[in-house]
């Protein structure tokens, strides 16, 4: 029993890890392709059919580039920086429920790596750790521009984490649980999706998630105009690649989180009326979940090639003066509605 459980989890971890990495890898290609199409040109199409080998070429290039560690840098922290960034990005996918239970023989496998009942808190903890990667990298470079970029990144992350948390509290008030698995399970069908009860919360969540992922229009940590390059100015070769890669993994995970928390995760309309066996519904559910994730990833890229970058004071004003009060108002509103529902209906 114990070994079977470990084996099951191990396989699941490896599969989820692989899928995460592959999706992050091909997100880089998708990003360039989508950018191309939105700007009336082809994206990369030289390596392989439709440029499908482009991510491999990019990876190879990153590995073979010269690696430079600045003379005044703190070598240990300089190396640990991107490592922390990529590890925190990877481990946050552990609590996301990818599907319902899969039954093979008499063994039933739940398609979720860690079924913890504080999943939302875990995600928040891990996201908060991600700032360390950026901050350490910027500080250890011994470059004032990097340090400035890192400080900007850190204060941005921390500011928007508040908005993110507050927008989620309203959601937690509706669902009454911190377990992501259970939040998804509650949203069966189509009418029960949390987006219908929490539209404002979702909007705040999306904006904050963009800021947390350092994506346009909140990509202030990277700033080739003001601070040479941002927190990763001194990084070269695969260490820079890891920073970039962790950004794409973060994008994938937050897309998954948005799909799970607000758009019903693996649930799809009429899933219980189709008369299919449980395993088939699980498999379709996983596919539906990934379709939702891809839609959100596309949305991320769509925004990137539409909106210009914020100015830093505008960013801070939006975060502190607009989103946080709005999120608190959303909490109050949700509380009032719940109170009315409980007393009168």
């Amino acid at each position: 029993m114990e070994t079977a459980f470990l084996l099951e989890k191990l396989i699941l971890v490896v599969v989820v890890f692989t899928i995460t990495l592959v999706i992050a890898m091909y997100s880089t290609l998708a990003e360039r392709k989508i950018a191309g199409f939105m700007q009336d040109r082809h994206g990369p199409d030289r390596a392989g059919a439709f440029g499908l080998l482009q991510p491999l070429c990019d990876g190879g290039k990153f590995f073979f580039k010269e690696e430079i560690i600045p003379a005044g840098a703190h070598k240990g922290l300089f190396i640990i920086g991107p490592v922390i960034a990529i590890i925190t990005a990877c481990i946050s996918s552990a609590v996301i429920p990818w599907g319902q239970t899969l039954t093979i023989g008499d063994a039933s496998i739940k398609l979720q790596v860690a079924e913890v009942n504080i999943g939302v808190l875990y995600i928040f903890g891990v996201i908060a750790l991600g700032v360390y990667g950026i901050m350490l990298g910027g500080w250890a470079s011994n470059n004032k521009f990097s340090l400035m970029g890192a400080i900007r990144a850190a204060s941005q992350s921390i500011s928007y984490e508040i908005g993110l948390g507050l927008s989620l509290i309203a959601l937690l008030m509706v669902t009454g649980t911190l377990s992501i698995g259970e939040i998804v399970a509650q949203q069966s069908g189509f009418v029960n999706w949390n987006i219908w009860s929490q539209p404002l919360g979702f909007l705040i969540f999306v904006v904050c998630a963009f800021a947390e992922c350092n994506r346009v229009p909140f990509d202030l940590p990277e700033c080739e105009t003001e601070l040479v390059g941002g927190y990763h100015t001194e990084y070269s070769s695969m260490k820079l690649g890891l920073y970039m890669f962790s950004e794409y993994i973060n994008m994938f995970v937050s897309s998954a989180l948005m799909a799970a928390l607000y758009f019903g995760g693996y649930n799809f309309p009429f899933m219980n009326d189709l008369g299919l066996s449980a395993n088939w519904i699980t498999i379709i559910g996983v596919l539906v979940f990934f379709a939702k994730i891809f839609a959100f990833i596309f949305f991320f890229m769509w925004i990137r090639w539409t909106l210009p970058r914020f100015r830093y004071d505008q960013l801070m004003r939006l975060g502190w003066k607009k989103l946080i009060p709005l999120a608190i108002a959303n909490i109050v509103l949700t509380g009032v509605i719940i109170l009315i529902k409980d007393t009168f209906f």
């Binding site: 989508i34 939105m38 700007q39 040109r41 082809h42 769509w302 925004i303 539409t306």
Partner: protein, 171 residues
């Protein structure tokens, strides 16, 4: 102060109204614009495989023409060199010897004909000046090279390749 030109415009910044201040309508408008481009036909030409045709009056590399029987038209009169504003063309004339009647159309011909492609400005005046219709700028682009001396194009590069008269008659 009174405007001198009477074209002065006062820029006024009106305070934004509510919908402008929450930005979302503008963002959705922008998103719809980029999404429309997503479905547009891409005008990009995939260059090495796909070459865009030049316009009819594109002036490319010069070529020295032959007549219907494959003889060189140029008689080394020097009018092209004279008309050239960049002084890129130089030539040495020679007299046609016996037995060379099938090579050159008239008694005088260009033994050496050189165009310095670094000087040439592709104005086309040589084309216009030529009384014998011997020079046209109908070639391809002049390609890049490593040495300056390689940009001086001699007759080996300029004269049209010889063609088979019998094949020409058939067409």
């Amino acid at each position: 102060m009174q405007s001198l030109s009477n074209r002065k415009k006062v820029l006024e910044q009106k305070p934004m109204n509510f919908w402008e201040r929450i930005y979302l309508p503008a963002i959705f408008k922008g998103l719809s614009i980029t999404l429309r481009h997503f479905f547009k036909k891409i005008p990009t030409v995939k260059y090495p495989e796909e070459v865009r045709p030049y316009s009819k009056n594109f002036r490319g590399q010069h070529s020295l023409k032959r007549d219907e029987e494959g003889k060189e038209r140029c008689t080394a009169c020097g009018l092209c060199a004279l008309s050239c504003p960049a002084e890129a063309i130089t030539m040495t004339s020679a007299e046609r010897a016996k037995g060379e009647e099938h090579l050159y159309r008239e008694e005088k011909y260009a033994a050496v004909y050189e165009i310095n492609m670094l000087r040439c400005i592709f104005c086309g005046l040589c084309e216009e000046a030529c009384p014998k219709e011997a020079i046209y700028l109908d070639g391809p682009h002049v390609t890049a090279d490593y040495l300056r001396k390689d940009f001086i194009y001699g007759k080996d590069k300029l004269v049209e390749p010889k063609f088979d008269i019998t094949k020409l008659a058939k067409d």
